[in-house]
Symmetry: D2
Subunit: 396 residues, 4 copies
Amino acid sequence: MNKIRMGMVGGGQGAFIGAVHRIAASLDGEIELVCGAFSSTKEKSVSSGLSLYLEESRCYEDYYEMFKQELLLSEDERMEFVAIVTPNHLHFPIAKLAIEHGFHVMSDKPATLSLAQAYELKAVLEKHSVLYGLTHTYNGYPLIKQAKYLIEQGELGNIVKIVVEYSQGWLASKSDETSKQASWRLDPEKSGISCCMGDIGVHAANLAEYVSGLNISDICADLTATVDGRTLDDDGTVLLKFSNGAKGLLLASQVSVGDENNLKLRIYGDKKSIEWSHLSPNTLWLKSNDEPTQQIRAGVGKMCEAAQQALRTPAGHPEGYLEAFGNIYLNFAKQIRAYQNHEICDNHTFDKQAFDVPGINEAIRGMAFIEGAVKASQSEIKWHPFMPKIANKEAN
Amino acid sequence: MNKIRMGMVGGGQGAFIGAVHRIAASLDGEIELVCGAFSSTKEKSVSSGLSLYLEESRCYEDYYEMFKQELLLSEDERMEFVAIVTPNHLHFPIAKLAIEHGFHVMSDKPATLSLAQAYELKAVLEKHSVLYGLTHTYNGYPLIKQAKYLIEQGELGNIVKIVVEYSQGWLASKSDETSKQASWRLDPEKSGISCCMGDIGVHAANLAEYVSGLNISDICADLTATVDGRTLDDDGTVLLKFSNGAKGLLLASQVSVGDENNLKLRIYGDKKSIEWSHLSPNTLWLKSNDEPTQQIRAGVGKMCEAAQQALRTPAGHPEGYLEAFGNIYLNFAKQIRAYQNHEICDNHTFDKQAFDVPGINEAIRGMAFIEGAVKASQSEIKWHPFMPKIANKEAN
Amino acid sequence: MNKIRMGMVGGGQGAFIGAVHRIAASLDGEIELVCGAFSSTKEKSVSSGLSLYLEESRCYEDYYEMFKQELLLSEDERMEFVAIVTPNHLHFPIAKLAIEHGFHVMSDKPATLSLAQAYELKAVLEKHSVLYGLTHTYNGYPLIKQAKYLIEQGELGNIVKIVVEYSQGWLASKSDETSKQASWRLDPEKSGISCCMGDIGVHAANLAEYVSGLNISDICADLTATVDGRTLDDDGTVLLKFSNGAKGLLLASQVSVGDENNLKLRIYGDKKSIEWSHLSPNTLWLKSNDEPTQQIRAGVGKMCEAAQQALRTPAGHPEGYLEAFGNIYLNFAKQIRAYQNHEICDNHTFDKQAFDVPGINEAIRGMAFIEGAVKASQSEIKWHPFMPKIANKEAN
Amino acid sequence: MNKIRMGMVGGGQGAFIGAVHRIAASLDGEIELVCGAFSSTKEKSVSSGLSLYLEESRCYEDYYEMFKQELLLSEDERMEFVAIVTPNHLHFPIAKLAIEHGFHVMSDKPATLSLAQAYELKAVLEKHSVLYGLTHTYNGYPLIKQAKYLIEQGELGNIVKIVVEYSQGWLASKSDETSKQASWRLDPEKSGISCCMGDIGVHAANLAEYVSGLNISDICADLTATVDGRTLDDDGTVLLKFSNGAKGLLLASQVSVGDENNLKLRIYGDKKSIEWSHLSPNTLWLKSNDEPTQQIRAGVGKMCEAAQQALRTPAGHPEGYLEAFGNIYLNFAKQIRAYQNHEICDNHTFDKQAFDVPGINEAIRGMAFIEGAVKASQSEIKWHPFMPKIANKEAN
């Protein structure tokens, strides 16, 4: 048996997230990078590919060329799936073309540039037998899986409140806008109608739903373009109602000076509550009113199976972001193996979380969140349904 | 010279906050308790007073009696100020009567049962030459004063965002309602139109304004009576706009299981930010994007004068809630000394923070916050002005 | 009934620990300061006393005068006990004279200047019916009492290892030596044969024995006078063996730059372990290998009676050093009440911890520790018995 | 250009550290595993190798066979270095044979079973032109490199005290001895003369020397076999003197119930101090007496080049143990590239840290520490030189 073969679009020299995807994909020795269209020019793409020890012939000018050429290779040589690590506006066209060529897709988030595109992507997927994954990285942390498990087991009782925050400071000033990372995120053509909610708010919304098992039903939003001259939000707060009546709060910011990547999740039930912070990801707090707070540490004592499988070392060996990212890829690799073995095909994977990989449903809910937050923020009315009325019918 | 003589209304055996006021008042040896109307019956009042080593003759049946009898005593024997530590509905009538008898007042918060009463209290104060203080305890922490100072000095730049949270879990379930502390807080006749916002939200609002030096200008609120059968809110989120255009967020909860008394304040400027948590009150974080976060510790290095005066021990000796509470009283004692020395009289003290004691203006803004949050929560419109239109004219 | 009347020797203006004793003593309204010999001159003593609202006639020139004059007052007016808050070399003569005049004594630590003096003090106490307390402050923390309780209940199993550290940085450089606090501590005539071990190491040793319920049996020591020109140790490590065979380690330092007052205690049993840090005194960690660590918080859930009585506020209201110090005094006040009621007299109180106040036995063990550590450090042999041979017979 | 080709001895299914080495080696895409002798039987070795997607022909029965067969392959196909991940007693013979076959070596620690073997290994290396690395993993953390840099820059002033602890609880009870990991570590034939000091104490000693740039000169040790029936130490404390006169303390334990992998380092200078904890590896504390403590976070602001190169993600993305381990391999890969380019050969690499990979000198000092601690513990004399007299001549 061979490693699963991955191609990559984007992620040339100087990019941040491309390197992260490559490390994450190869972390467990199940996936190998075999080809890529890394940059905007053939020359740069080849240069990037050679530094990654790829054959020059498989460093392509663009993704059209890559999909075409790879299809000409023998089945046990050609790329099996493509990792899409470009700016947002390219996620959809690349994913669509890959699917139409029969390649599985692992896309960075947000899945598309609009909710409409997300529905279109779902329609394309329904016509082809391929797998689709979305890197909502934070789902990959072992203790996030343990938190989800505790809630499923009823440890918290009925959930009454969810507070999720994702606070960064890196776009706090005008002078921060010149970096490669900043410039496309602040450009509506490449980023979509939101900067902050599209880049990180959507992660927070996904995490809240993933761990709680609840769906957001209504939102009230106040987004701000804090720094002069910006057309997209760089900060915002969204009040939430959940499907079971629980209240919630999502705070996202890119202008909170001094905050690194402060993703925090608190879920309160009527019996107990959990608290998790991305900056100390190997600790989960389980709290109640009358007993000592439990400091659950990754690998200590008995963990649920999903958490155990997401750990590579014993207790006391800090694992972090790359490992969490690796878990998304590891589960996707297992999904592809199951596909190779004809245990699953596309039709099944849309509907369930059998392999614990965020997919097309998360893609649609993510785009609904981003568009919904922007529209709700522009309204003088307080509350708005999470899914637009028409969309509602289709999505749930 | 003698200690300043304090009387007390409320705070009989079994009460929580009365004992706190007594410790706080006597902490620095400047104030002594000389009389009280501690309970609802003469017998209980005497019993409480005797256990506090008071003379039986100065343990009164009620506050009418106390004010009347104390006035009959000689000037260097009689009580100089009254500490009001009853449930909310009695704060106003007791304060009003005390002022009319010429006694200074230190009132627990919220100052009154309604905004209208707060205006009435201000009118009464304007007619009498006495001092009025309000125990917004959290102002008393040394590092809160240091944070205020850093902001005044411009260390943070322009403030763009304020997040303040006050999260407790003690009212999370129906069975928690039977305690003495809980029952009156959930009773609209004694508590007013809000439980959670009136009890702790108002502290958070005060703290945000005190430290930032900004006024809240607009609010959007979503309050909830989480537990079945409650008529008053036990949880809520309030979106904030500040006078300088900064955005903000106030979260208060009494149903967040496992949270003790989690008051947290984060203020973000365009240069730096500060972070403080009540559960580690001797640490203040000063953060920026490009330099190491500074962990400012109470008593380490140079602190502003207000912080230095609020500390009783050198660095490394944890001080806490009682000391912070004591600082409110210590500053009030200084104010009374200045009054005794004819350096100040009532007219001046309403207008400025010369002695750093929350007063009638804080009382009015506090009641505006509580009433405003409840009304905004009931509205389908998102944003509402912080001060009602009519009130606005008078208050600012 | 009246408050218990306290006199004070030392603690004039500018002193640190005197003010701490006064706050601690008066915290709970059970004790009042009635007289003092605060300073080296009558003038300064009066000035200090007046600022504390004492009558001038009870501000004495020295402690001889104070003891003599107070005895002349009526029984319900005169001071009942004396708090000794001078530099070390005066602890013994003042305590001795007070006892001989029939006053109870609360002494700052270390009890005396030498082990021989400690034995002499015990002999004096055996001849008089008075009470003797020693302010090993850290015993007063509620969660220290909870830790002691957990160990008594067998929660940790057999204790196998104890690590206690007390690390400060305030004497790290030559220039730090000029302060009033530093100069006498570095002077052998006033401080005794040790600076660091005598000032803080002895607290750490006491805490380890108090919480564990074990006695240190053997020590190996390495003390250092880190800063040039010092004759006394400012840093040191002591290896420990305990009476049950457990190993241990005591680290004390006054030259650990940047450390405030970092007293930390870890006790490991063969089943569980506890961890406590003075800088977060309201948290106690209970750890095991296979279950989540329990974060025990002051006031949350059920605590042992001693811990509960040592708390003045509900969970979530940080209490600190002054409150812990106050608990030593509160227990001493209860002891004095029992004495007044003829429930106890001196003979009983030497032998047991009925009132949980450190006493003459702790005084002797403390002096044995200080002298033993200095001597062991000078030796080329590794291990030495904790109590000198002769002493051994008498002390255990 | 191709990836560097690695073979592995040990690390078959069920082993812990082998998988860690594989992930670490491949993390940056510079090294690929091409062959291995993973287990004690051919069958198991093949099974392990196939699960790693190796060719069956390169899954060898033992390391003799592997070295012999790989030499027969063409130069651009054969393994270039071997990773040794067996129990301790095999480190030396495998490394020796590999070197004699001309293969570079990356060995797990401790390097050998005795100090004598370590000297012999050095002698072998001096006769062959190959590279030798030792996985003192904790050196690989970015903030450890930053700490080392700050000290080199003189930020701390003269170092006066070093405290290093490595505390675990996993061997606390008899029942923990049955696991594969535990059984060989407690067996003198496989583990050497020490369990705890050999397994983790040696890491702590190395870390203290690496960061401080100082050498330990003298030790006083007290090791304990805490659990009944053990012949090797499972806990111990070592007092240290350093080459510049600084004092220190090394605490290592495998019986500290509830401790995971608590490696902590504190280094005190006469100006500032640093503190680092393995369980929060992305934070470094820089402390002084008069300024706020600086919380240095990985990736925030300007870091030294070695720290920057050891980071794979921007600030706020927690990196951990696998990444630190990966940094040892990444630097070894750079060293091998330099060797391939004839920029260095063996003679140079013994003497300097040009590529920041622990090597044969660290191997010798590590074995000196382990043997020295055991012998010092058995002695009644307090202090002992770190290097045995004869060894001394050769090693420094």
